[in-house]
Amino acid sequence: MITLTVNGTRRSFDGDPTMPLLWYLRDELALTGTKYGCGIAQCGACTVHVAGRPARACQLKMETLQGAVVTTIEGLHPTGQHPLQEAWREIDVPQCGFCQPGQIMQAAGLLKNKPKPTDQDIDTAMNGHICRCGTYPRIRAAIKAAAEKQS
């Protein structure tokens, strides 16, 4: 039995211990904001926070998450008004939107460590995320706008 906390709620899991967190969130908890894009840590669509830091949910087996504290896009902010979420809307970043929960979770981790990220910081932090629609310039702008607003 694995127990963990997801978006503030205690959960227990007694299924296949090798199941990646991604499928646990999506199939067992119906938290479908965390997306599947590649399954091999190449795209970032599945990014959540574990212990407050961005992590690829497709790479984390449930058996390694005993006692873990997990936050998904649904739990990033109680009313969906994290400064990044607001900046994303302000700049109308998404096209199809599919990659954006992962992008936002990664960016939230970045801003926590670097409240004033440079272009280079953003490139480094976000390069693991694919947006096939090509919203990179707007993502960069939105991260900067959120950082600006936060300070």
Partner: protein, 799 residues
Amino acid sequence: MSALFGKHGKHGKHGKHGKHERHESRLPWVSSNTTPESDELVDSGRRSALKILGLGGLVLAVGPGGVRRLDAAALTAADPWNPHVYVKIADDGIVTILCHRSEMGQGIRTTMPMIIADEMEADWSNCRVEQADGEEKYGSQNTDGSTSIRAFLPQYREAGATVRALMEDAAAKEWGVAATEVKAEQHEVVHTATGRRKSFGSLVASARTMAMPARERLRIKSPAERRWQGKAMRSIDLVPVTTGKAVYGADVILPGMKVAMVVRPPVWGSKVVSVDDSAALKVPGVEKVVRIPESPIPGAFLPLGGVAVVAKNTWAAIRGREALKVTWDAGPHATYESKAYKAELEASVAKPGAPGYRTGDVAAALASGARTVKASYYMPHLSHAQMEPVAAIANVSNGKVEAWAPTQSPFDARNTLAQYLKVEPANVTVHVTLLGGAFGRKSKPDFVCEAAFLSREVGAPVRVQWTREDDVRNSYYHSVAAHRLEASLDASGKVTGWLHRSAYPTISSVFAPNLPGPTPDELINGASDVPWDIPNMSVEVCPAVAHVRIGWFRSVNAIHHGFAIGSFVDELAQAAGKDSAEFLLQLIGRDRVVDQSKNGMVEPPKDYYGAAWTDYPLDTVRAKNVVRTVMEKSGWGTKLPRGRGRGIAVHRSFLSYVAMVVEVEVLPDGTVLVPKATVAVDAGFVANPDRAKSQMEGALIMAMSNTLHSEISFAQGRVVQSNYRDYQVARMRAAPRTVDVHILQNEGMPGGIGEPGVPPACGAIANAIFAATGVRVRELPVGRQLAGWSTRATEDGSS
């Protein structure tokens, strides 16, 4: 035949409903407020619309030739009227607009209702959007070809204007004044003289019974009266998208739903020889292994077939499929090798092809030019690699099929499902979710058929989930293409002859077996309709047989046309010793407006991107304007250090003119960054400029992938690549800091927006690389070709 290898009988381990029913079902955009209206009274299109919109209020159907109130819109064989759009005003005034096009990032769920609401004088905060199901009565809903606005703008406007007039009439009647004395204003009608007001909601009851405003009386807003059209409107789905609540294909959850993964043919047309499912069935959670018959190739939209593992959750399905042992026969295309095929295509374009465009005497021109230039270009297969791998949910029971899918074409999905499962289309419902990117992949409903087939086999709702590996290896691919261009220049550097031959397996090859190659009419996708002023031209297609499923990919053949033509024009400018941009302007030449179907086109198709040729003549002033705009805004002509360079290209496709100046920085290791790009687009009237800008940004970045990174290749008939690790796409680090998009807004007939940005970007990037490094890339992707460029001798003699 559908051999079953399952161990649990017809309904799987847990019977018809599995024990994992912990979630509420999540059905996007299907209102619980379904209508009991009797079936005899309504045709299926209306029934479906009413189901989603709910009863009551005022419902208007919008179709070719006008707007009707739903009570009068019953369809008969004698009056086969196809409404495309439904608009409802509820008694509380809430406006609901049924969107008949699929949302895949282009913003149609915002732009389409915004146009209607603007013309209606609705208050945007009182407007809602619901997604329409796949319905015959909507006509083609295929969201492709950059069509939505250019095909429907007049209807959307008329719809809004009709509602506005109807509301005004109703208020005038209630007040007993002339209709000319009242005016709709933001969800109210105002009596101008007295300032009295009535809300739209309060007028619904009267509007339900009064005569519809005559078409001649309708007044489409003048540009000055428009509130949002041509200005700005934020996307409507931003809150769900940024909070993880938006529902894409794989996010639909039904009670008792199973998850399936399918092993598909590794080679196009190969067939299962044997299946050993003993290990797969031992994986906890795996319930059944089901054979899906291979569809005969080419197969159109039908599923490839193979062997499915049906499990209680996704992870069990993944593990079960890993444990499944399937052997395949070699298949008819096992000899497909990309290297050899490239040589075949090059040999094909070395010989004369079938002309799609011909003027003057190109052979004579080439023979007598002061100078001739020849070049060959190659572009490999591409895969859409949209971020959401395809997935679909289906529930088949009692002969009825219900499916949820991220489909660009719910209507095709519905018909293909009916054909595949041998049921009447009337018994098939297709609900459209949001699409996590599509780019043409999701026009093909093969994956929806898989879900429905499996649901029928296991007697439970099934989600078919494709992995990224499935997506890379079993997709419909963009055509691989070879081009050969030759041109003659006179002593002054003016182009006198132009010979362009291309060879690529055609998309038609998925619909008809054994096609020898593309047909000349395919050249109108940006090759035979180039805006050049050259007296002697021949544009030809050459044979190329398909060995894999070929499918539409954003911009279609214009991708390789744009790359080859854009690059070649730049090569000609170098040969003529002229500035590339000035050379482009000279090549476009005299101001003129030409119906291209009457000007050298050999047997032109009846329509041009689905529109009348006469509505979209080539206008060289527009072509030159976009070029001049990017020249002026990009700092064209100013000096850049070695390793940095600008490239320019202009291309017309999907009825729009786009020019780009792309600036690249090439690092010593050959990595290409794109710090800046300047784009100008003339697409006639652009309804939602910010979404048009975002499409141009996205097109440029997709062109970076196409040009710099992406390649699908085949060895022994199998796709070599597997995931984003080896099928690479553009990422943040290389992406532009600035994309400066200029929309040359005008009141002209709208052109496409989603696709026409890609083709010029491919050429402009290649030209910028040449400007930066002196290396001319003629074979894509650039990949590692530029490694160590700074120490190499270059074609332009610099070093």
